[in-house]
């Protein structure tokens, strides 16, 4: 590496380091300090004690984790076969684009579109009536909430899995079949383990944001699904108890860190494969 190149690297690292410090480390520290700084009491762990001894907040935590888990399972169940199909297609870049396309549209707009679809006189209910099922209450149900949340998170699950599947050397499944494994066995014993890094990344990128969903819980779930995201929103906007809101934020960050730790590869293997 020559000198100018080295200087470039240093400058770049410096900028990146500053960026991290200003927009990642500092806000996290502020959040932590805020959560410990109880109004009228000074620094104390009171907020954390209140959080972990309060029935409603623990119930919300359980709710958040449970729904995030369901959303993740649903998106994984849809995304894996989808990604597998995508890799086999001829114009896969084009099809992939179609999968990513919805992420270009504002989240709020997509959610409002679902109100139109799931409403009492919505498209789905009309169709159900048309084939003789009669309309039913779709909006404000847990099912509707899961459906919309899974729809929104789907691209974030498909992409990493798709990339991981593409990284698999095509000779490996071929060899597996040569050696007498059925398609199912090949999928189970060769493709699935090799695509694991993609699955793990996908699980992280879906599970973590799902923990603190709040807008969809109100618009689609009608506040019948209450997660920690709802509580944070309320503490910052309504009661203006920023200290307690920060506490919930810190608890969520810890939960996310745990998820990362659990789903991360212990031994970082160097992956080869085609580009």
């Amino acid at each position: 590496m020559n000198k100018t190149k080295k200087r470039f690297t240093e400058a770049y690292l410096g900028i990146y380091g500053l960026w991290l410090l200003a927009f990642v480390v500092a806000p996290l520290l502020l959040l932590l300090i805020q959560s410990l700084n109880v109004p009228g009491q000074g620094f104390s762990l009171a907020n954390y004690r209140d959080f972990f001894t309060s029935g409603p907040y623990l119930a919300m935590t359980v709710n958040s984790i449970w729904y995030a888990f369901l959303i993740t399972v649903m998106t994984l169940a849809i995304a894996y076969p989808l990604a597998l199909c995508l890799t086999k297609l001829k114009h896969r870049q084009f099809w992939l684009l179609l999968v990513i396309l919805p992420t270009w549209i504002n989240l709020l707009l997509k959610t409002y579109a679902f109100i139109g679809l799931l409403g009492k006189d919505g498209l789905l209910n009309r169709a159900l009536e048309g084939i003789g099922f009669g309309s039913s209450q779709l909006l404000f149900t847990n099912g509707a909430f899961l459906l919309v949340a899974a729809y929104i998170e789907l691209p974030f699950m498909v992409l990493p899995i798709y990339n991981a599947l593409l990284d698999i050397d095509p000779l490996l499944p071929a060899a597996s079949r040569d050696l007498g494994a059925s398609s199912w066995e090949t999928l189970k014993k060769v493709i699935w383990p090799l695509s694991m890094p993609g699955v793990k990344t996908g699980v992280q990128t879906v599970f973590i944001p799902s923990l603190s969903l709040f807008m969809i819980t109100r618009l689609i779930g009608g506040n019948k699904v209450i997660t920690l995201g709802t509580a944070i929103e309320e503490h910052f906007l309504v009661t203006q108890n920023w200290s307690f809101g920060s506490t919930i934020g810190v608890v969520l960050i810890i939960a996310m860190a745990l998820t990362m730790a659990l789903t991360n590869d212990k031994q970082k293997k160097k992956r080869g494969g085609r580009k």
Binding site: L139, R218, L219, K224
Partner: protein
């Protein structure tokens, strides 16, 4: 590496360009004001004034108006408290006037500079949130009530708040997502005050409220009016202003204020302490208080005006609308929210949160 540096450079250039544009715009905006008339910054709720009033005001007085909006009292409070922008006129609701006054963020009004205060109905002056109107002038008022679909619900059965507990409304009711309002109506139904600060009363209200859950279809925010207009639910607890908008979209909807009383909310004009153009702010308050202007504004917004002279100028159909200008017997039972301290705000919100968590 080269590519990366180019990308970085591009990002920096873009940022520089945006900052430059912003600076240029702010200079361009300031230039005419320094030459002729001042620009006052009006911090109001979204779509809460007839836009033609602002342009007429500019034509008449030479003051330009920079109209900025907020979507919650709390958001507005934060902005005014931080003081990054010098707002000249803001429109907080009742309890927020109390909070702003307490925090010393408002300028005391010089009554000698105010005209048209005698047009204001005394009913809406000297309220508990700000006795003597030293800091605030009422802008619009309204109530909390029940919006219902005439084709599905018999309005005559909605005489008092307890009627929404009736089993016939199972899974048909929408509630506005607000702790104060929902607990408030429960307290009223038990003969208590919306400003009750008694733990036993609140616990009793919470107990009664939890039995409402089977009727509740959803607890929603601003989108409530959309759902009601679309016929998603048959009845809803919401504010008169929101009800008005839904009723314009769906003719089957009607609004009623229960006879056992309700919340009276008032939005008020105030001048923040840090206002830089107080003279212009007074001019706008006085302009908005002019009966013809206030009537025009009320006609456009559809909320009830506290200005008696303006009320007289409104079309007959509006004046006789009991849903938005209730008779005196109901007016006498309306209660204004007092500003709660942190403890009670929290207590009400926790109680409401527990209600929301309770599965039906």
């Amino acid at each position: 590496m080269k590519k990366l540096m180019m990308a970085l450079l591009f990002v920096f250039l873009l940022i520089a360009l945006i900052l430059g544009l912003q600076w240029g715009l702010s200079v361009a905006r300031q230039q005419p004001s320094s030459q002729k008339g001042e620009t006052l910054t009006f911090y109001n709720w979204g779509d809460y004034i007839d836009p033609s009033i602002l342009s007429d005001f500019s034509k008449e007085t030479g003051y330009k108006v920079n109209y900025q909006t907020f979507d919650s009292n709390e958001a507005m409070y934060t902005k005014i408290a931080q003081g990054g922008t010098n707002y000249d006129l803001a429109v907080p609701s009742d309890y927020m006037v109390a909070k702003l006054t307490k925090a010393g963020l408002l300028a005391k009004l010089d009554k000698s500079k105010l005209t048209g205060m005698d047009h204001v109905n005394p009913q809406f002056l000297n309220q508990s949130f700000e006795r003597g109107n030293q800091y605030s002038v009422p802008y619009f008022w309204g109530t909390l009530g029940i919006l219902y679909n005439k084709t599905k619900v018999d309005g005559s059965k909605l005489q008092n708040w307890s009627s929404i507990w009736s089993e016939q409304y199972k899974k048909r009711l929408l509630l506005v997502d607000s702790a104060r309002d929902i607990l408030g109506l429960t307290l009223i139904s038990q003969g208590k005050s919306v400003n009750d600060q008694n733990k036993a009363d609140l616990a009793a209200a919470q107990g009664k409220l939890s039995s409402l859950m089977p009727n509740v279809k959803a607890i929603v925010g601003d989108e409530l009016k959309l759902y009601m207009a679309q016929g998603e639910a048959d009845l809803a607890v919401t504010y008169s202003g929101e009800a008005k908008i839904a009723m314009e979209q769906n003719k089957d909807l009607a609004y009623t204020v229960p006879k056992d009383g309700s919340n009276l909310w008032l939005d008020n004009l105030v001048i923040p302490k840090k206002a830089a153009h107080k003279k212009a702010a007074y001019a706008l308050i006085n302009y908005l208080n002019r009966p013809d202007v206030a009537a025009k504004n009320a006609d456009y917004i559809g909320y009830a005006t506290p200005n008696q002279k303006a009320y007289q100028l409104l079309p007959k159909s509006v004046k006789s609308d009991k849903a938005f200008y209730p008779e005196q017997s109901i007016l006498d039972r309306l209660q204004v929210y007092e500003n709660f301290n942190q403890y009670w705000t929290q207590t009400y919100n926790d109680a409401f949160l527990e209600f929301k968590l309770g599965k039906s």
